[in-house]
Symmetry: D2
Subunit: 424 residues, 4 copies
């Protein structure tokens, strides 16, 4: 992903634009095909120095001015008049935006691979451990039992929804940018529309209704999908890192590599993959906010707003790529510890059944009385270190309503998994 958005591939994409533009214009008879050939021949990355261009870019506020200058120089050596047709009718932003879209298109393909890998890993975990019972946790406190399958299914559905949304958004956003200085292709006169269409076919990017120099909603919407995906991955990473705490110990990262060792402590394995996904999830919301903020752009082309995208869009895709890949790696090798899941349930001494028992009791003596009896018993579970069942069986108010057998039945987790047991 770093290389997709690297200086070199950016330069290649910009030269691809300039070359395709010349070809399209010659096909529309704006100029002679031989001119287009000369220009295309000069669009060779080896003829350009990335470091020189970078330096000049700062001075000009855009890399396109020095790039076009250099390209013009190369062309004019071969054919003086052809040089007049270099970059004809285009503006800097046409080049940069289209190049960025070319890069994003590649980036999306890369992400898709890892999304597929991740979904497969989750499906495999689901089929192996889906019915495993564990405690549900809400507000970081024990709630009621769930299956591990419910957790995995929630993660997987979110990833699938996110990717579907990304695909729809990519279809809308991955379009050609070509409008000339003020968006109306003034220099091309009545040929503008035809050149746009031809260029769109050559570069293989659909044609939007208008130039979108200052209307960034499609791009921002695509980046939003990616940012939301990073958020969903962050949620997975948070869940897993909490389950990996030594006191919880319900899952652990596979030991197949050296990754995560500490520089000081031989016993330590840091959850590096979670770390990557969590770091990404802390950065992307702010990167996305930068894009949203930068939408407020002046007139036909912006002063500052557009430029703020240059570092931000690649950063979002890089963060996403790191996150998906890390989570896919982790899920591929994840070790599940069912015995620890059961142990953690046991250690709660039946407390997680308090809602179920209260509801059963409520039907007989009303909710407030039932709640009182249950709250009393629950507080004794911890202070006296005894099982909730045991304590309830000692409470006459309870035993008058619910028999010992009924209580044992209520205490059976299998009957208390609701929708997460469906499919067993």
């Amino acid at each position: 992903m770093m290389s997709i958005f690297g200086d070199e591939s950016m330069l290649m994409a910009m030269l691809e634009f300039e070359s395709a533009l010349a070809t399209a214009e010659s096909r529309c008879e704006v100029f002679d095909p031989r001119i287009a050939e000369t220009i295309s021949d000069c669009c060779q990355i080896s003829e350009f120095s990335i470091s020189d261009l970078s330096e000049l870019a700062v001075q000009h506020g855009t890399v396109v001015v020095p790039l076009v200058k250099q390209l013009t120089k190369l062309v004019s050596v071969k054919d003086e008049t052809a040089s007049g047709w270099v970059h004809f009718g285009a503006t800097s932003q046409d080049v940069i935006d289209t190049a960025m879209i070319i890069q994003i298109k590649k980036a999306c393909a890369l992400l898709e691979n890892d999304i597929n890998r991740l979904v497969s890993a989750l499906e495999s975990l689901e089929s192996r451990f889906g019915s495993q019972v564990m405690i549900g946790r809400t507000l970081l406190q024990p709630s009621v039992p769930i299956t591990f399958g419910q957790k995995i299914s929630g993660w997987k559905s979110a990833i699938n929804r996110n990717w579907k949304r990304t695909e729809v958004s990519a279809k809308e956003a991955l379009v050609l940018q070509f409008g000339g200085p003020s968006g109306n292709l003034s220099s091309l006169g009545l040929q503008g529309e035809q050149v746009r269409k031809t260029l769109s076919r050559i570069i293989d990017l659909p044609l939007p209704t208008d130039a979108w120099h200052v209307h960034r909603d499609r791009l921002v919407s695509l980046c939003s999908c990616i940012s939301i995906l990073v958020g969903s991955l962050g949620k997975m990473a948070l869940d897993l890192s909490l389950l990996m705490q030594s006191e919880v110990g319900e899952v652990s990262e596979g030991n197949n590599s050296d990754g995560g060792r500490s520089s000081a402590m031989p016993h330590k394995r840091n959850p590096v993959n979670c770390l990557i996904a969590l770091t990404a999830a802390k950065r992307t919301p702010h990167l996305q906010a930068t894009l949203l903020e930068a939408m407020v752009q002046e007139h036909e082309r912006a002063l500052g707003g557009w430029q703020a995208e240059w570092l931000t869009v690649p950063a979002i895709f890089e963060a996403a790529a790191g996150s998906i890949s890390a989570i896919a790696d982790m899920c591929g090798g994840l070790q599940i510890h069912p015995e620890k899941m059961l142990h953690n349930l046991d250690a709660l001494k039946g407390l997680f059944m308090s809602e179920r028992i209260m509801l059963a009791l409520s039907k007989k003596i009303g909710k407030e009385s039932a709640r009182e009896i249950l709250e009393e018993a629950c507080s004794k579970v911890q202070s006296q270190d005894r099982h909730l069942s045991e304590l309830l069986k000692l409470d006459a108010r309870f035993t008058q309503q619910i028999s010992s057998d009924e209580l044992d039945e209520l205490m059976n987790i299998k009957g208390y998994l609701g929708t997460s047991s469906i499919g067993d």
Copy 2:
């Protein structure tokens, strides 16, 4: 919009949930229909004190605990055992999320009205002033001429795209929340699915595959669409406020009201509608980032992440409502000053034609020589305060290539409007 997300309508929506839940459960034979009737009868907003609930909400971290307590009390007065079935199988988040979705549904309908009003206003402007020529501006400097219609069309397309995106997103996001303490409706056993379906029909919100207590991607995606819309409106407001500067003066707000007067200066009319839209556009990116950040939620229900949404989601919709309404108002009464548009063009003394002339010249003497001649002439336009035509006609290097008549033809704006002239 403020009232849609106000305390009272929130409370009404929460009571709607509790009432519908009881009805759904009785229809699924979880309990007797008379119990459901008793509960529904008690779900009257007049029986609840908003200020008491607000105070208790802080203590409990949620308004649902005191709400359910009060509802239970009301029910138990009428029927002690019925009280055991209040809120049966639900968790706080089911109530709050569903109530919020009910509010958002209303909010979207409200926004749609103003969107339609705005699009109509833009279409009217387009039909009246669409072919008006004006200077295009890029990086806050004069670029090449455009039509006002091009500007309006860009705004309108963006609004239309944004709203279409919002509708698709709303369809995905406006779904029921009902999962119980850990998302699996544990207390309802095998009846869970059926109750969910029935509740979905009663509340008239589609059913998602799973509870989405900690999977907020759909909601965040909808809010993202709204935030992007606010960005597009901010862009319009920025354009218009720049055009309204006294030195530019190409448009002005209609004087049909008292709005925008200064507390000190009688001559002053502040662009209040632009102000509202620009303020919204400065706030929403950060509100949206809050939602993105808050997606990283723990396990089955979150500690902090979900709660951060409570003030944030309404704030996004309120900002959007204010912005759309202000921009629709403004566009409805916008005054266009074609004479000022022409004046501003004239004041540039032909400079905006430099690209066209350079391209014409380039074809004859190559780009670098052409650029040199044009840059020299352009710099003289300002230092000598003379028209570009006049200066070029004095330059032998130029007149040898391009005749006076050809130059006059090149200087004709009508032939230099590219795609924005189409439709004339």
Copy 3:
């Protein structure tokens, strides 16, 4: 805190400004003292309707226009010519900014109380449990032992630093705003400086060099201090909520109240105070970013940037107030479970000593060999469920270098607490 920034106290502070302004101007002989008295007499909150003003504020883009209009009307009833001197020389922003500063000053005093309460609570915990040994945790994995005192001391130092920084910043930021329409008090001519000084004394707010209508650095800097404080409190809340997990159980919230009960589960106590602080910490970074973004304001007074502060500054102070108060409450009643701290250490079977033992061994056989032996032993601790000591005593490579007694000494936690043991 909500009431400090409520509509009523905002209105009171604005009227305080208008009254003080009249008084200051009359003292500087801009007009007759009787005029000032008449104006001041009319600055009674009872004469104004908050709901009417709010409605008109939307239309005007500021509440000051309708406020001044109503005040002028009240004054002109008493004295027609006096009405000419209402709000004399001031602009809307003078009124709103100064009123906001008056509110912030009160807010800071309120925060200080809770800061003191929190620091006391931490000192009390430190004196009672400061030397308690517990496992240190890094990247959510066990690291080496620390004392609970080290943890508390880190929290306390951060709170103290944050508050000190806030005080310095408040001294800079809590200044009068008074500049008139364009910041130079044009209407007051040469009397401007003197009126400023007098007004500053009456309102008891120091005088900055210039009007700061569009230079918001001082205010943003103060809000930054508050936001950073909220971040430090969020860190405390995260630590505590992690320690409160049932599987960790090293601390718990005091049971002195009803707070934190679940709407569904009788056994549950939600960490409501942590929740409040964590929610605040998720919101403030974005609120602060809004202020930073909004600093880029146009010319002499802004279009949108300033207005974006109105909802944002109070929100930061309200979030901070909620967070500090919640954390102070929680620390005041926090229950510490030393036995659980020791239990969690024991459960690690000596693993946390791996660094120390490796370093001891490294000195004899070099680091790489030592690391290899230790990593091997550490991995067996978990797979074989045996203590690290026991395993090392079985490894000849180890016992040749370090005797059993030496190992026992190395395993003594007391000698391995570094700087956190100082003070014992």
Copy 4:
């Protein structure tokens, strides 16, 4: 600035830490001075491959693990036992944080140079054009006249305040990080404090009370100062870019370079320096928010929060460096057009005096009547294109109160500059 935070200087700073640590420990007699010499000898950047380290860093979640491994290898070749003392007692974060502080220290020195350059440029402008009268603008509309000096003075004061705040903050934040795995230097036992002090002297960074692995308030506070500075610079850039609009034309960038030329339009000079500063001001609020968000770090060392700083802190300093340098460059060569300032005033036909005249009239006939007369006249100024004076002199209600001579005196701008005229 890019090179200060580049990979190479980061690596150099990390090796500086490792070398200084060995020296400090040997001075405190933790081990033999010859061991320290061996370790220091190996801390040569030429022995390390940046690309190899980068690759391994991803796998380990930190660059320090592979760095220490490589350093250990180099040392063990020279002296097997010395290798046991490499990185002794330190943790990854000690190395990275201290290296970052070393980089920030250099960055601050660099910024200071440009701040001084900028302040000098502003002082020069102030002395040359400080008393130049121009229109003040509020909410992007003409307000009352000001001097250009008032504008410059506001910018300069803000820059000075910002830098003073940065210096105070830097003093607090630029401190050593050294705490070992859990912050208490466990491995160094009672020698910890002494080693810390010695290391602090060698690296020339003051010693904080505690390790600040998870207490980032000082660093975030320093970055906040830088972000606020970028905001103030953004405000300058916005003002200047608005003044540079061709219709306003009150200032322009010096033509001493090729910078800002368009890739398409020979007449165009883009305000590249404004662009750089505005782009920075759009990015930093979000970078700063990332740091604020990331303050909520777990226990003794964080999972994700700390790592989110790595790309963010350098980005803030780089944005700031670009912005200051661009604004200093621009102000150094700024061209001021006093004739255009006067022209823009004239074009307003006296409107900007409406407040003054209304106040004068108010004293005679009350505010509401005065406002009515003035508003009527002001609206005619635009519709009839006549001067405010002229219109008022035709209004009997006005001429009865204020004579023609008095009006002419009121219309004199010189007497209406308030505090901005002081110093003339």
